[in-house]
Symmetry: D2
Subunit: 407 residues, 4 copies
């Protein structure tokens, strides 16, 4: 069979698919589904180029794994072909559990389920289908393999997942602030006792990487209008589930219908196959096609919110360090209630407060060490001149107030 | 009202929305719809970055209009603010009549309707809504304005529409062959008797532009796999319409349902408002969400084709200069008929021949003249050293043979 | 006369020369001389692409002035054509007083002269030659014009000089760390009481700008090998002047000879025309052509140092926060003295200590204010989340120890 | 010894020096000299960024060799480490025989010597110095090695030398017309019987490569102003040699002096060591430093030409397909003779005709074959749709007329 092996990527030029097994995994419907799940959800409403998908990101990260292992091999570290394929697969599939608009809807479509756990569930399924060929990939993914650096490349402070998404998000949004010298950082990778370290010469690039990530948070990931759109999306789905639970039948693809009609949660999802089956049919298009139809719903609240999203007349959003003034919120609430003729419960679809954090992307806490020319290992925070580099990586929590002026 | 005026564009850096009227047009649902219509249809199955939309392209072309008119003004040509706004609107809206997967589905969803005519219909609607503020834009669009260069910038041999799509398609596919020196060409624009000309110094850039366009045809627009996907899409919609006409009720959004159930064509489209209303609700997502559902249809032919598209198991395509060998086609047909158990009529969904042309994008024939240093105007074909530059622009017709090996 | 008005620039695409007067200034031998003075001196020994000149940088900065004033005008600020030309000239000529390898040789070829004072002297000369047409430019350059923002664009915390050199140095070295979103910052420029301010939305880009500058210092401007080469150059010129003062006649172009033979300093330079005449004949090539010849000098110290530079066998350099250990320096000194057979005074050409600062480029202390959405002006350090942004801009002094191992 | 192995290159990101021997060759004074020989001579007078050197180009070409051999190995071709190093060295050193402003001065400083022959002479010297370690590199360079593809990569129709210079010249001039998809072409390299072929899928990229080269000729290499500057340089050197031969002693570095005072030619250059010794001391700076001094020469013809070059008041140049009109030339000659008071012989420094060819860079005639999917080898001209692709590669000869208006 003629397996196409080279893919054009505007970010890196070309991406080579390194093996037949990986080709087959990429061809699998579970993975092809990622073609229709945008990496940045509603961000394209602000940055119209930001339509790139989780499919593309996963391929990009895979490409960086190839570069990284080549660098490590050139420095004399032995990495077997089997390890390389496994590490590549673990990275390629580490986000396969994402659903549509994942960061917004992770807790709306279903409840109490982490996408990481779905990723692992799907990898297990694939491992069965491929006769155990993913065993080592799973060990690496679960950080149970004895050579820690493989997992650190997938999920660490300076990992290939982040490197690719910063590059890629920066490229497609056009926000040059996020450009990082991934090639320089990778060239500075090395191993000490099978732990990933970065050679001293790479320290400025790592500082820049951390700073770029922080800037991307405030300029892109937590952009006010992006938040406005994502909050609106969440509220729409909440209303749709509420209506469905009361017996309304809304227009939806069968896959979306399943999640509207059923209470899918952490306990049944991993026990009943139907949920994963439906989940792996879902993508951004199910959501958006439904919302367009719901704009004509006879539930005025649902219809109003869907019309707002369609016409990009989003919530007004205020982001503050302190909790928003209660009187102001109360006044906005009263005012809007009157204008829209809503009751106490319904008004929460149109005026509400919440908090956001800049760590959405970041579950890991494993630090990366710098390998000094002297041979010493030093925590990056200590190796850096930038005295508060740690602060770049800390969680910042902000308050948001959302309301509408579309009456 | 706070009208956001600057948009990030990875291709040009920033795009400024030049006036309030244009801001309002961009905000209109007719235009926002273009956010969900990909410029290159199914091309992302080959070039995964090619997800950019007609929305983004229209903004990009608008940006080039601003640059072009500034150059012309700096060369002493008087252009009024009113003319500038009108020309910008004409360019911004010139593609607004495109439906989803336009090049493939233009003659499937409806029959005998050109997207240019729909663009004009929509512009007329908008002109009504905006109290005649689009009068001049419409004159320019229809090439009825006495200063010809405005229309030539929109639709000529070297126009801003093409400049933007070459740049943009090249950027998002990652095919560097399509990169053109748009800024250099624009700097060489000038007017002679209100006709657009290009100064002699720009001739190499124009040659390069024509060559880039030709290369993009064969490398991207007419890429074998892209054709395979688009043909499959056409056949799926044909089958869906056929089934609908026989009374089957297929899953579809109301907008798509309308086009499945009704014979929309050149005569009723422009007379009955319902058709345009439904048309302007349609985007790529209606099509794709339906196809995902149809993969489980109980019509085996429809279901088979939808599963092929979903899993990217497309037709095999052979592109040839000569008509494909009849015996071979016959044999493939027989063979496939037997394997799939289909009759004479049904087999045409799985084995068929057709022709393609590299002029899909190009309706115009107006030539662009080169303004020689001597002051003479010379046709570009004669001004160029590249003896066969004309051939770059000629229509090439090729034969295709499509068949499946997915049994 | 046919004055060529457009220049290709790989950094910005095209640079337009905005007026005939500016064209004539660029054509003047004082300015053309900058074609042969590299912006980054010996840096090309580390980054081989870093051959760009002060000529190119001045044109680039001029380009940014045009963009900036256009932004300010679009925000409703009135700027006359005369002011625009003057501000552009002031920026174009602000570095015209640089000699070859300026940062290294500023205090070696001559003594006690700042390049800023030479710039002003040359601007005065040009003003005479051009019949007073540079009067306003001189007022702006000397910060005596009542509209302060013109000078702030030339010499402030976030000025166009720095913006261009960060962009340009980053481009030609290939160190992507220095890339800044100059276009975004410029789009955020505004005026309050004719003072330059940056609108709140631009704050992340300004943070990034300050960080980029800091990183460029440590990665490029103060790179160990660059310092090694520049220190060697200084020592070579010191030796050449010492020999000349003792009556040795070294090979040199007449212009360089003048500075070898005479004690040019702050008091005679501005009084005797001969010095400026000779100075404006000097460029990098006079220095380097001489050094190649001096490698065969019969002064062994001079010859040795020149051979070291030619063959890129530079000093070893150690950069430390604390003063280097005295015993170590002493031991290195003794050791080298013995190996090379030098006396106490001569050894200082081969083993020595010094200090370096990361503020070489930065004489200004004027802060730039952020214009908050509320209308308040806030110091950037207070407007930023990045708690220690001030520290990015502070002077860091480091100690260096230079010695040779080339015996 | 700590041999720095990675070099920043703005064109490719990073270049790795692959072996210690290659590091030592790069460090050799013969090679370091190339740091001061610009790849494009006087082109920077038109494109101010075009200051890149033969040093940088040689490193870039070396980088492409690494990529190419990796591609070939991945396709199953066996290439030994020894062969790789030799091919890399052959490419790295293939241009080492270039002198300053090589294309202009090749026949002025010395007579009847090809730079290729000097390259070979220097490689022989280096081979002696390095104890025969360059034996295989020399075989490859001289095309005497039995595996032809190594030489074809260095000097063929689609070779790595050209690929790098097109990329690099395009990058530093800012002329985007020259950008080529080198990575795509390289990915399409393959071997048939140890001959280099390009796989069918790469044909568009090869077409684009040939077209880019042609455009670069007319836009950059044979730009009118570049020719004007190079012709002026040639005439200056001719005059300087003429004066020297009559006993005038002009200012010059010893290396340049040698070529002014002696008739160096094809017969003595290869027999007497002094000539190569002096030649390898020469670079662009010797020439330019002398010209600055000669601008004050008491030979008015020499002084006038040097002032013209210094102030960029170059010849007027007319490029035509036909020979220039004799009467016009005669009239210009007479007119200029009178204005400048020159005799019949002297006037030829200021008014003259000549011819130029677009093949300056191209000595090779070996064609590259396309490997069709069918397995057949087809000449690129026949494989291409672009009917006259051959014409892109043919020599075009044009006539030039140079004269001055600077009186």
């Amino acid at each position: 069979m003629n397996k196409k092996k080279i893919i054009n990527d505007p970010v890196y030029g070309f991406i080579t698919i390194p093996s037949d097994l990986i080709y087959d995994l990429i061809s699998h419907p579970y993975f092809q589904r990622l073609r229709y799940i945008k990496q940045l959800g509603m961000t394209h409403l602000v940055y119209p180029g930001a339509l790139h998908t989780r499919f593309h990101h996963a391929l990009g990260a895979m490409h960086l794994m190839g570069l990284s292992l080549e660098v490590l091999r050139n420095k004399g570290h032995v990495i077997s072909a089997e390890e390389e394929e496994a590490a590549t697969i673990a990275l390629l599939l580490h986000d396969i559990g994402h659903g549509p608009f994942s960061h917004s809807l992770e807790h709306t479509l279903a409840r109490g389920i982490q996408h990481e756990d779905i990723s692992q569930l799907i990898m297990n399924k694939l491992n069965e289908e491929f006769d155990g060929k993913l065993n080592l990939a799973l060990l690496i993914f679960k950080n149970q393999y004895h050579r820690a650096f493989f997992n650190q490349l997938i999920s660490g402070q300076v990992d290939l997942d982040r490197m690719d998404y910063l590059n890629r998000d920066s490229f497609f949004t056009g926000v040059s602030e996020g450009v990082i010298s991934f090639d320089r950082i990778i060239k500075m990778f090395n191993l000490v006792n099978d732990e990933l370290v970065i050679e001293e010469k790479g320290i400025y690039s790592v500082e820049k990487f951390l700073i770029a990530r922080r800037l991307m948070y405030w300029q892109v990931y937590l952009h006010k209008t992006v938040i406005a759109a994502e909050q609106l999306l969440v509220k729409i789905l909440e209303r749709a589930k509420e209506l469905s639970s009361k017996g309304h039948i809304l227009f939806a693809t069968p896959a979306l219908q399943h999640f509207l009609q059923n209470d899918v949660n952490g306990s049944n999802f991993f026990n009943e196959e139907i949920h994963l089956n439906k989940f792996t049919q879902l993508d951004d298009q199910d959501i958006h096609a439904a919302i367009k139809v719901w704009a004509d719903s006879n539930d005025e609240i649902l219809a109003r919110m869907c019309r707002m999203l369609k016409a990009r007349r989003l919530y007004k959003v205020e982001i503050t360090n302190e909790e928003p003034d209660h009187n102001r919120v109360k006044q906005l609430t009263e005012n809007t209630k009157n204008k829209l003729g809503l009751n106490e419960k319904e008004i929460s679809y149109f005026v509400f407060t919440d908090t956001i954090k800049n760590r959405a992307y970041n579950m890991s806490t494993a630090n990366t060490n710098i390998l000094m020319k002297t041979g010493k290992l030093v925590d990056i925070a200590k190796a850096s001149d930038l005295s508060n580099i740690q602060s770049l990586d800390r969680t910042v929590e902000k308050h948001i107030l959302c309301y509408t002026k579309e009456f």
